[in-house]
């Protein structure tokens, strides 16, 4: 009984957070046109979030591509179709692993940094001070960080995917001896615009979700050290779960 009630209660509070977050997003979207006018602030944040995640995304991309080639080679060799390795690795990276893994890494690195930065600004009264200086922290602090994340994500996904394909080439062609010509030509022949669109679309949606969750959690954090800590944890967990759910929904919708 009490388990049911607890489930019910957490479902209700989940819906409330979802609604609050939707309103928060709506406000951000309404402010966006004027926010983009102050492009320097946004570029600064793209640089901030991008630089934070760049190295781990490059390293992870390389190893994901390499392991993909190992597993793919093993599997494809059973059907004598090693030549398809380039296609298989590229498709997996472009459609799935690139956007999903990048978003998860982004949440762990840039997302937590955003949430704790905003939460700390709140805890140390910097946001109140801004309001007292007649500056809206939603526009001055939250919006540029949100837009920075939204813009940075597709760029990071592109970098992850490109390095992943390089990693697959390294293992497949250089180590396993797959023919370089067929590796690249099959890839070119089989990866269509639709598939690239799927990857780009996912990276945009994940960018919005991950950035929204991070700035929302930071802005709504309880203004204490503990509250900020909780906000960063929730950022990682919420982003991971929503990215995986969104990934399924987008894939199903685009099939």
């Amino acid at each position: 009984m009490s388990v049911l009630r607890e489930l019910g209660e957490s479902f209700v509070s989940f819906l409330r957070i979802l609604g609050d977050m939707a309103l928060f997003l709506l406000r951000l979207v309404m402010y966006t046109p004027r926010g983009l006018l102050r492009f320097r602030l946004v570029v600064h944040q793209v640089h901030n979030t991008g630089a934070l995640s760049l190295v781990i995304i490059m390293i992870s991309g390389l190893f994901v591509g390499m392991v993909l080639a190992l597993q793919g080679f093993d599997l494809l060799a059973r059907f004598n179709s090693e030549d398809a390795l380039g296609t298989a690795a590229a498709l997996a990276l472009i459609k799935e692993l690139g956007p999903v893994v990048t978003a998860l890494l982004f949440a762990g690195r840039a997302g937590t940094a955003l949430a704790s930065e905003i939460g700390l600004m709140k805890a140390t009264e910097q946001l109140s001070a801004m309001e007292m200086m007649a500056v809206d922290p939603m526009r001055r602090v939250v919006l540029p960080r949100f837009l920075g994340g939204v813009i940075a994500m597709p760029l990071l996904v592109a970098i992850f995917t490109a390095i992943g394909i390089f990693g697959a080439w390294l293992v497949g062609v250089v180590m396993m001896g797959v023919d370089a010509g067929s590796f690249w030509s099959q890839m070119q022949a089989n990866v269509s615009g639709d598939e690239i669109f799927e990857g780009v679309f996912k990276s945009v949606v994940f960018g919005i979700a991950a950035s929204l969750i991070a700035v929302y959690e930071g802005y709504r954090a309880w203004p204490t050290a503990e509250g900020v800590g909780r906000a960063t944890t929730r950022t990682v967990v919420l982003t991971a779960v929503s990215v995986l759910i969104l990934d399924y929904m987008i894939t199903a919708a685009l099939l």
Partner: protein
């Protein structure tokens, strides 16, 4: 000169009437009346929890009253739209207790922040204004330090420079003396007076440091029981015979002001049913 001074007439700058406000079961204000006159340094005193910070948030529109009215210059604060509220705040400088400097900007950019947000002044002029204000608080040499590299007293002086950079009509200080060494204390005391005179502004100082206020304030209010329980020049309050005022001004533990936050009966709490789980 900003909008707060524009329509001055004979009215006080801040006029609070019948203010009522509660936090849960606690009545923070209950029919509070208070006037703040133009051009003076007004002190608002009161023991911890008397509602000084809350009153300040009412004046600046961060909180809205449950009853009564708050007028600041031409603005009826309790009913302002967000846009009008921000318009009013451009004419108010506020010094937060810990400074509340923006940690991702250096000292210079912190002071320049309101100018960059609200004006389109050329860089040369911004530089001139900011350095002048920093010089006034003795920290021009610290312009390129980050807030993390400042001591508490320095941070508060930078915050003061930032609070006056837009030439406000009203300057509010929340607990400006807490945690300062005697030298910084003297500096801040003199700064408050000097700024008030040099800029011709109105200042509100919130504090419970009676002795520092002696050198600062032209007029003082003492809060207690959700109302003003004493008012006048510092000397008059010190000499007051009213028991509530005496107790606060002379720091007597026994008196009409309760030292305790409202609580159920002590014996009940210790030995009552709940204590047995």
């Amino acid at each position: 000169m900003g909008t707060l001074r524009a329509d001055r007439g004979d009215r006080p700058l801040v006029e609070i009437r019948g203010l009522g406000f509660r936090r849960g079961a606690v009545k923070v204000f209950d029919g509070l009346d208070l006037d703040i006159q133009h051009g003076r340094v007004t002190a608002i005193m009161g023991s911890s929890g008397a509602g000084k910070t809350t009153l300040l948030r009412m004046i600046t529109g961060q909180l809205r009253p449950d009853a009564g009215s708050v007028r600041v210059g031409p603005y009826d604060v309790a009913t302002l739209s967000v846009d009008r509220l921000y318009e009013m705040r451009r004419n108010i400088g506020m010094l937060f207790q810990n400074g509340a400097l923006l940690t991702d900007l250096d000292v210079f950019e912190n002071v320049a922040f309101p100018l960059r947000e609200h004006t389109r002044l050329p860089e040369r002029l911004i530089r001139h204004i900011v350095l002048t204000k920093l010089e006034a608080v003795g920290l021009r040499g610290a312009a390129r330090l980050l807030p993390q590299a400042l001591s508490g007293g320095m941070a508060r002086r930078v915050a003061l420079a930032r609070a006056v950079v837009m030439d406000p009509d009203l300057l509010i200080y929340d607990e400006p003396f807490v945690g300062l060494d005697p030298i910084s204390m003297g500096v801040v005391v003199r700064l408050i007076r000097r700024l008030n005179e040099a800029l011709g502004i109105t200042s509100i100082v919130i504090s419970h440091d009676i002795h520092e206020l002696r050198d600062v304030s032209d007029h003082s209010f003492l809060l207690g029981d959700g109302r003003v329980i004493g008012e006048g020049a510092h000397r008059e309050l010190m000499a007051s015979e009213a028991p509530l005022v005496r107790q606060f001004m002379h720091g007597e533990a026994d008196g009409p002001v309760a030292f305790h936050y409202p609580a159920p009966d002590y014996a009940d709490d210790l030995f009552g049913p709940e204590s047995r789980g």
